[in-house]
């Protein structure tokens, strides 16, 4: 068993109305290696966050439920763990940071005591030790003047600083995996660049594997070697970022890449558009979920769900029409 984390055939179902169920994550499978950074990219409702929450055992139940699948962490299925043992993994072996750090921090405690609490939960140390480790960790996430900062409250910090605190708490127990769910979406571009650089360098130093969830293909390019593209709950394409961007195999990936105005796009040239909108998961078309928006569709596409096929060079694509790798 080489992979640090292996998700197999994960289906997470939500109840959205009387007798209406949606598969927010639908037969999702991938592996994450030790020290690797893997990006999951997709638009709203693509299932990227639900996949992350499923790995963390944080799917709200009801309305959500993991219908089937396995989540193997070092070969052990996390879905079979007791809640008590799962708590020993969550936050300890697998840390997580979220999009909006303000809502993840408790407004009435100082950040020092919140970091210390994270340390005390997962380590057998004294309060004083936890406190000095908190200061040490704040230094590592490059927060200036940490001795003073531990005494401040979340509202006294900027968004970028709060995200640094979240990273620092997630790293308090030296996890093997850091799950980052849109950690820079709420931040300004220059601050986003700083946080991305911080995650990159910390992951490298500590050999932490990162599962990085984002909607921004530009961010993917900067942070990950390998990426998964999700659409309507399913993985549509997976592969090394360089090849994936240079020669996308799935028509959806192709469309997304063409639709973004790049710095090199000439002014005023009409942008490529993917027609239509992201489908409602409770009313998916038969067959491939992308069929109604796909420019290349053929008769077969409306008949069944295209399986994720390996197309050489570590690339996989769920499209009936996609052919061979490079």
């Amino acid at each position: 068993m080489g992979a640090l984390l292996e998700v197999r055939d994960l289906t997470t179902r939500f109840r959205v109305g009387r007798r209406v169920f949606i598969n927010a994550a639908d037969h999702v499978g991938f592996t994450l290696d030790e020290g690797e950074t893997l990006a999951i990219v997709g638009e709203s409702g693509s299932g990227k966050s639900v996949t992350a929450l499923s790995v963390m055992g944080l799917v709200p139940n009801p309305p959500g439920r993991i219908e089937h699948g396995e989540i193997l962490f070092r070969g052990e299925d996390l879905l079979k763990l007791t809640p008590r043992r799962m708590r020993g993994v969550r936050g300890n072996k697998i840390g997580m940071i979220f999009q909006e750090p303000m809502s993840s921090l408790n407004p009435v405690f100082t950040i020092g005591s919140q970091i210390a609490e994270a340390i005390l939960t997962h380590n057998d140390v004294s309060r004083a030790e936890a406190r000095s480790r908190a200061i040490e960790l704040l230094k590592q996430v490059e927060i200036p003047d940490p001795e003073r900062r531990v005494k401040t409250y979340p509202h006294q910090m900027s968004g970028g600083m709060r995200q640094r605190v979240m990273i620092c708490m997630a790293l308090a127990s030296s996890p093997d995996i850091l799950i980052a769910d849109e950690p820079t979406t709420a931040l300004d571009v220059t601050i986003q660049a700083q946080i991305l650089e911080l995650i990159r360098s910390l992951a490298r130093e500590r050999n932490t594997a990162v599962l990085f969830i984002t909607h921004d293909l530009g961010v993917v390019a900067g942070i990950a070697r390998r990426a998964i593209v999700m659409y309507a709950g399913r993985i549509v394409e997976m592969g090394p970022v360089k090849e994936l961007f240079a020669k996308p195999l799935h028509p959806y990936t192709r469309g997304l890449l063409r639709a973004i105005p790049k710095l090199a796009t000439p002014r005023g040239q009409p942008l490529y558009t993917i027609p239509g909108i992201v489908p409602d998961l409770s009313r998916l078309p038969l067959g491939c979920a992308f069929v109604t928006r796909c420019p290349d569709r053929e008769a077969i596409c409306g008949k069944g769900k295209p399986p994720l096929r390996t197309l050489g060079d570590g690339r996989q694509c769920a499209c009936f029409l996609a052919e061979g790798g490079v």
């Binding site: 638009e43 709203s44 900027s158 970028g160 600083m161 300004d188 571009v189 220059t190 601050i191 986003q192 660049a193 700083q194 991305l196 650089e197 909607h215 921004d216 293909l217 530009g218 961010v219 993917v220 390019a221 900067g222 970022v241 360089k242 961007f245 240079a246 469309g255 997304l256 890449l257 639709a259 973004i260 105005p261 790049k262 710095l263 090199a264 796009t265 002014r267 005023g268 009409p270 942008l271 490529y272 558009t273 993917i274 909108i277 992201v278």
Partner: protein, 330 residues
């Protein structure tokens, strides 16, 4: 060279903002303390030519949204002048302003909070016409249907309420509403930031289309620089209430002069970037606008600052035709 640019260059500017300043004052957090003063827009001057798209970029708190609202007089400037079509509108009374409002509209960032949830799509689009036109009810509806078609929504959608639409569709409704009174000028305040990537390009194409069809002048505000560059003829870069650089959009990306513009461009995550380009990372954070640094607003984060940057605010100078910058080093 396309004809649009030639005619834009020939005509006089639609807007001339000079020394535009907006100061917000709020109560201090300490009882009896000094009130907090925020200079949201600080001595900003620029022109918007007829028929052009001027982009404004900058990070949160830089004053780009406030600038847009000042131009529309949704906020009253503290000082400075706003000359619109040859007339200073900075201090004219609201009644006089109302007659001009027909010419200037705004498209908001969040299509979820800018549409009245209790009104149908058709009523939302037709509402501005009640105040700004002498059309009958039937004519207003006729016009709203026409706009609905123009922004790419089927007419069956007319009786629906905002919650029945996706974000991109709502933004189309917002655009149709802005167009209903046939404005000359529209402020687009982050119109695609809240949308999914695959929908953004649809809305951007729509904005391009209406701009050409209706020879509109736009102020396009966004923090996504790739989007701003794509849509704008000229781009202004704001930081802590000041306009640091203003140039043709190609020029500013090829030859950014201000150190802040340079790092801003370097920070954009770009999909062509898999090779791992060396980034010019900015250190530190944006200072609080309540506690503005002395001298150049950017000097606290600037890697090239010299002695006078901390004491003396650099003046805006035109360093090449159409390219102005406020920096002591250039």
């Amino acid at each position: 060279m396309d004809s649009r640019m030639d005619s834009a260059a020939a005509a006089s500017p639609l807007y001339e903002a000079r020394g535009l300043t907006k100061v917000f004052t709020s109560k201090s957090s300490a009882i009896g303390g000094k009130p907090l003063v925020v200079r949201a827009v600080n001595d900003v001057s620029f022109d918007i030519n007829n028929g052009e798209v001027l982009g404004l970029v900058g990070e949160s708190g830089c004053g780009k949204t406030t600038t847009g609202r000042l131009l529309l007089r949704l906020l009253d400037p503290t000082s400075g002048s706003i000359v619109y079509a040859g007339r200073d509108i900075a201090r004219i009374p609201n009644r006089a302003m109302r007659a001009l409002r027909k010419d200037m509209q705004i498209i908001f960032q969040d299509p979820f909070s800018s549409l009245n949830p209790r009104m149908t799509c058709l009523d939302i689009i037709a509402e501005p016409l009640i105040l700004h036109s002498s059309l009958t009810r039937a004519q207003r509806r006729e016009k709203a249907y026409e706009l609905l078609r123009y922004v790419g929504l089927p007419k069956e959608y007319a009786p629906r309420f905002p919650h029945e639409f996706s974000g991109g569709q709502r933004q189309r409704i917002g655009i149709a509403r802005a167009l209903s009174v046939d404005p000359k000028f529209i402020v687009c305040d982050e119109p695609v930031s809240a949308l999914d990537v695959s929908v953004q390009s649809q809305v951007l194409n729509l904005i391009q289309k209406l701009r050409h069809d209706r020879s509109l002048t736009l102020l396009f505000i966004a923090h996504g620089l790739n989007v701003v560059k794509y849509i704008s003829d000229r781009v202004g870069v704001m930081y802590l209430g000041s306009l640091l650089e203003l140039a043709d959009s190609e020029e500013i990306y090829l030859r950014p002069l201000h150190p802040y513009t340079q790092s801003l461009i370097s920070a954009i995550p770009d999909v062509d970037d898999t090779a791992g380009r060396e980034r010019q990372l900015l250190r530190g954070e944006i200072p609080s606008p309540t506690n503005m640094p002395s001298g150049c607003p950017f000097h606290t984060r600037c890697s090239r600052k010299i002695g006078r940057c901390a004491d003396e605010k650099p003046l805006t100078r035109e360093v090449a035709p159409g390219h102005s910058v406020a920096c002591h080093l250039i």
